[in-house]
């Protein structure tokens, strides 16, 4: 057979999303493919832009609180925590110790729940469907506890400015303890089923490399940054509430690939279990609510409050003009910044890697688009 000079190869431009089984919501990726190789990825965002920041300017501080849940719906407690902390700092209110402990507990539980969704979704993206269902099985137990406490399964609206909706219900701590006792065993199971699996390892090791310098310059935070070897965790770097009193590790991996980020998240789940054990052991009695005025009118000023959400540095920038409504509210969205590094990670990847890398970023489109 001779080489036919009229036969040329063509680049294929494919539109991945906004409805695609593994874009984790409504992200659109414009791919330029050379066969199975990816030449260029361009994310197109904004399909879930629900004007959450503008809404804050139309509602008063208390009314906006339920909207924070809808912002990054996998870790509603973390969003509430960030917003409530911002408003309380503006008001100059300090929550009671018990309230602080419970808030930390809730945030950590939500971290586990969120990471479980990540874990399952990455399994799903690489083709291991079963892990996804196992993760959701364990996640249901956390959701049940959340439902006991707050009356909702996903979007809790549990925190209030100056306190909480209610104290922990009876049976909550027992339920949590039994979950915590069992959970590490389950993590070991996922570890053996997915992480140690040779196929999964070959799918993830050395794929989607992100150098620490690039990560820092893109403003990547959270487990994605720690997977690149930068030990930066706001619970350690800028501790809030009771985190200084708790002992935990900040898991870091130097490899910077999908597997490193995966292992960081897996280790973080176990660290959260460790933190929750400490919280349960040291939960103080007492009041949960501080008296706040009926009409919230913080003094004019601005504040930036940041916490470590499961996805990274979640910041709230709040300006008050002295009225009942915020003058401006801005979310520093971790997923948005993490997604910026995505095209760089996809250099020379295959189509299949694309999905795995996106899974390892653990983006939430509600967080990206706001």
């Amino acid at each position: 057979m001779t080489w036919d000079p009229t036969c040329v190869t063509e680049e294929l431009v494919v539109n991945m999303g906004p409805q695609h089984p593994s874009t984790h919501g409504v992200l659109r990726l414009i791919l330029r493919l050379d066969g199975e190789r990816v030449l260029e990825v361009r994310p197109d965002i904004g399909f879930l832009h629900s004007s959450l920041e503008k809404i804050a300017e139309r509602l008063d501080y208390r009314q906006y609180l339920p909207y924070t849940d809808r912002y990054d719906y996998l870790c509603a407690m973390a969003n509430e925590l960030a917003y409530v902390r911002a408003v309380e700092s503006l008001l100059g209110v300090e929550p009671t110790p018990r309230c602080q402990w419970i808030r930390v507990m809730m945030a950590e539980m939500n971290r586990i729940a969120s990471h479980l969704v990540y874990y399952g979704a990455l399994g799903m993206d690489t083709g291991a469907t079963t892990v996804f269902l196992y993760c959701f099985r364990e996640r249901e137990r956390i959701l049940q506890l959340f439902e006991d406490a707050s009356g909702q399964r996903l979007l809790y609206h549990y925190f209030r400015i100056g306190g909480l909706r209610n104290d922990l219900p009876p049976g909550f701590c027992e339920g949590l303890r039994s979950f915590l006792d069992e959970f590490p065993r389950r993590v070991a199971e996922y570890d053996a089923l997915l992480t140690r699996n040779r196929i999964f390892r070959s799918r993830t090791e050395g794929v989607g490399y992100l150098s620490p310098e690039a990560a820092l310059s893109y403003g990547v935070t959270g487990p994605t940054l720690r997977g690149s070897g930068v030990s930066y965790d706001l619970r350690r770097a800028a501790p809030y509430y009771v985190y200084p009193e708790l002992e935990f590790d900040v898991p870091t991996r130097p490899e910077g690939d999908v597997m490193a980020r995966h292992l960081v998240r897996q280790e973080e789940m176990l660290q959260s279990v460790h933190l929750l054990h400490q919280c349960l052991d040291r939960l103080p009695p007492g009041e949960i609510n501080v008296k706040v005025p009926r009409k919230l009118k913080p003094d004019p000023g601005e504040i930036y409050v940041r916490i470590e959400s499961p996805r990274g540095e979640l910041g709230v920038y709040l300006i008050s003009d002295g009225s009942e409504k915020p003058y401006r509210l801005h979310w520093r969205a971790p997923s948005f910044h993490n997604l910026q590094a995505y095209p760089e990670m996809c250099q020379g990847a295959y189509v299949a890697d694309l999905v795995a890398i996106l899974g390892s970023l653990d983006i939430i489109l509600g967080d990206v688009d706001r």
């Binding site: 906004p18 409805q19 695609h20 089984p21 919501g25 409504v26 904004g46 399909f47 879930l48 832009h49 629900s50 004007s51 503008k54 809404i55 139309r58 509602l59 339920p66 909207y67 809808r70 719906y73 996998l74 969704v117 996804f132 269902l133 196992y134 959701f136 099985r137 996640r139 249901e140 959701l143 399964r153 996903l154 979007l155 489109l365 509600g366």
Partner: protein, 206 residues
Amino acid sequence: MGLRELEDRLRQLPGNLPRAPEQPLRRWAQTHHEGGLSVAFINVVDKVLDTGRACSTWGLQFGLACCAIEMMAVGASRYDLDRFGVFFRGSPRQADAMLVAGTLTLKMADVLRRLYDQMPEPRYVIAVGNCAISGGRFYHHAYSVVRGVDRVVPVDIYVPGCPPRPESFIDAIRKLHQLMRRESIADTIGHGERQHEDFFRKRELP
């Protein structure tokens, strides 16, 4: 294009255009065979085909926002939609019911419409959660959210909740099955597009 214009445009998409109900099969049966036996035959066929549809409803995986997470939870071990013969397909060509779970923004609206158009008849839409029903919490405040997916596609079942419990999800699917069992093949065959007001007048939940 301003918000008003865009919304008006969405309202005029073919999903909401009135169209006379066609029943070619039943009309044929009534005119050519003097009713009676052939209508009875159509009724039996209806029963069989309705059972087929109602027992196997494949959903289109169309998660938009928070409700999509609950949708995954319904498919997962504790609730298990597969018990009802529902499982999710990635391609709209193989789906029967589109479960619109989450906030539909203006940017996403024509994608939703296109996906709906890609689904083969007979097709159904379930609006899951208040964002999909009416825009929900964004109805009064947001500038970028479609106030209800029924402005873009005809909706069969509305599931209120923010997000709805997985049980109410399953409840919605069972109600959709009830609707399917009330349908007649004479209603569905020959329709390029169902008109949804007429459609609802024909069959209602008890």
